[in-house]
């Protein structure tokens, strides 16, 4: 289902209740693969599912955590760590991303409404 809200295209991906705290899932939003995380504090975050350091669509299967106060997600392949707030790559493991890919993740805007999770690709942070 695609809702049009003002000029923004927002897609419902699932109910918050479908998510397990600290365990990611992948979602398809307008053909894009997005990784969605419900954290223990109840917040929901969405980033690109593409792991820039391997070129595989696997970010949803990484481990959540924190560095200082920043909630993070670690790539399951080569263990780079990214901020869930702005997508910045915090730990590169001394590696470079695959050619043509930026080291940071795109972060997508998430809206919670009535227990449902909406993701807005257009509003990437």
């Amino acid at each position: 289902m695609t809702l049009v809200e003002g000029s923004i295209t927002t897609t419902r991906v699932c109910a918050v209740a479908d998510l397990t705290p600290e365990l990611g899932v992948a979602a398809l939003v307008a053909g894009e693969q997005v990784a969605v995380f419900l954290l223990a504090d109840g917040s929901v975050h969405a980033v690109q599912n593409l792991d820039p350091f391997s070129g595989a669509y696997v970010m949803s299967r990484g481990i959540t955590g924190s560095r200082g106060d920043v909630p993070t997600i670690a790539s399951p392949l080569y263990k780079q760590v990214f901020s869930l707030l702005d997508g910045a790559c915090l730990v590169t493991m001394d590696k470079d991303p695959k050619p043509g890919l930026a080291p940071d993740l795109a972060v997508h805007r998430v809206r919670l409404d009535n227990g449902e999770v909406f993701i807005d690709l257009a509003g990437s942070v």
Partner: protein, 856 residues
Amino acid sequence: MTTEHIVVVGGGMVAHRFTEALRARDTGGRYSVEVLAEEPRAPYDRVALTSYFTGRTPEDLQLGDPALWDDPLVTLRRDSGATAVDRARRVVTVEGGREVAYDHLVLATGSYAWAPPTPGADLPGVFMYRTVDDVAALRGWVEERREALGRPVRGAVIGGGLLGLEAAGALQGLGCVSTVIQFSDRLMNLQVDEGGGEALKRLIEKLGVTVRVKTATTAIRADKDGHVGSLIFADGGEQLVDVVVFATGVRPRDELGAAAGLELGARGGVVVDDTCLTADPAVTAIGEVACIQGACIGLIAPGNTMAEIAVDRLLGGASTFPGADTATKLKLLGVDVASFGDAFATTPGALEMVYADPVNGVYKKLVLTDDATTLLGGVLVGDASAYASLRPQVGARLQGDPAGWLLPEGAIERPNVELPDEAGVCSCNNVSAGAIRDSVNHDGCTDLGAVKACTKAGTSCGSCLPLVKKIMATELEKSGIEVSNALCEHVEMSRAQLFDAVRVAELTTFSEIMDRFGTGRGCDICKPAIASILASLYNQHVLAEGRAALQDTNDRVMANMQKDGTYSVVPRVPGGEILPEHLILIGQIAQDYGLYTKITGGQRIDMFGARLDQLPGIWKRLVDAGMESGQAYGKSLRTVKSCVGSDWCRYGVQDSVGLAIALELRYRGLRSPHKLKFGVSGCARECAEARGKDVGVIATDKGWNIYVGGNGGFTPVHAQLLVEDVDDEAVFRIIDRYLMFYIRTADRLQRTAPWQQEYEGGLDAIRKVVVDDSLGICADLDAHMARHVDTYEDEWKAVLNDPERLKQFTSFVNAPDQPDPSLAYVEQRGQRRPATPQEREAGPVLIASTTLEVRS
């Protein structure tokens, strides 16, 4: 006091170092500095230029702290090429005619990339390799040509030196088929000798780059559209090309100096003395443009040294140029190359010691004095692991047996070097062993990050880091400072301490443990470590309530993730003995799902390329037929390798297969700090390679010998004898205790070999614990293992019976029927493998996994 104005011409790496050092040391504000840069950007890291092709942007290449340019005493003028210097009036003219006056002038104009005059060198598609603009234009061209041609772009690099190979790597990275064309008889002829050049050529060719040596390019011809089209060689040969890069050397940009009447060197460059001054006391030259001690040096380290000397002199110091260290270490296209000191053995009477392994592409040479005691230099190709330790020993007595440095790591003991304080460790930043020791002993640095920040060692090329780390650790140990063994920022304790704390406090969940012993929400380091501790202690399911989110991906879906995000499936084959019907079933499943199959090194079969959503269907068929998880993904028992033993073999003295199966069934599913592998051989011929395993059992006439602490991997170690001639019952009892003791006391991800070596008192002390019960904990260890054996259940079977846990095995939360669309494969030798990026672009050869017929 009035401020004196310094004008620096050139905004490159050395100009940056000069400005940075001046502002750091001229605390009284004696000088203001104005940098005239011809390029449109602030100085950047030219050495790292090639990383532009792996996604780094010009901003990422920025040097140092950008706040330098906001300093009120610093002015950076971009897009401001200097056109003339008038030494009599002390003014520099900038493009457009503006004049800038100076009290002191610093020439830091570097070099330009030089190409031999070649007809056609000005065609579109011919590039140089020196600046960000060069590499940006190169990338743009290759991308555009690929689009237009619809096939991989053919690239050639003229010049097979250091820079040429780097450029070839960049072309490969851009997906070109590339050729290196070298005029001389070998690659990198300035750094490596003939043997090294041969090894290097073979290694580079293995990577798919074609190498032509002894080839002179006489002309570049255009294709029908007027783009670069082919290379014409002196021997009459011709090669089709879509892009050409010249990497044929550099020449100093000494034109300003020449026009201003300054003396030039025989091969160009503004002549300076050992203090970097020209004949004009108001003009200094530093970096690649300077001809110092008779030569221009094309490396950053001596350039930085000149910058430091110039600053020191301007502030009244007395330092002089010590001569350049032209040692080089590179990782080109993933190939190690290093050359240092008198690499070509030009010292009279010099001896050369050579080790060559053409099969593995390794060539190493040490150059020694005629009495074979003092190291003069060397060449390392294919394996440069000894470089960091050897380079600082040049000119000194070589410690230990020279062969130790040449043979592959681990073949014989490498000499343990204690470098003298004055030995240089980091050549990029000119840091000695003493300076590193000082940072630990006087400046209170206790980790690598602090030492790097304090000394700058290891902050450029990074090749000295292993040595820096070793010196730091030795120093910390000497002064009795405890090296922090905190697990991570959330848990202060080491793994062993945490294990005991959790066991004694009888905690069973992650949140309880974090409340008592940790802070924050955990991370990818402490979460899997705690999950492993809980699994070892209570043997609960890896995906038990709340556990899944702690596990590393592999444990979380009970399969090994592959490079494309699919998984491998490895059923357990205890002792390597397998029923024909199980073999058939594996073949059947692989065929039905189109999985790639391979016999593993652990005597079982691996099926690769299963999608997350296919795992339960595959495992249902395996479990229904009585097979179970092989935990190939877990930090737990992997395989017990066996030889055929007394049942069939004419030499076998014991039933090695029977014991191997019994051991594998006993310890299957046991979670540990790292993986565990066993081997059982039926006689001393040792066909199961048991001494390469964590636990190796070898039959004797009287029973079994148990060996422990063997390891393959990066640092192979043979297992050592723990007990001799014991019976079956003792085999189980002793291994039970050895494993449990390891599980309780080892560090995170520490295998048995390093654990055993580092345990205080070594294997003798461990033997006392597990055989003589010196700590009085054996009853506890026995009980713990008995609990594990009694409560074992196959974790895949458990998941298949649990609809809640099965939910995790879907592709997309909002489109569970749609498989991951990014997967793509090609056929190879009758099976499929992931397509490479180039193959993906080529398109038609792809077999999308979703189009394979699947019967599930």
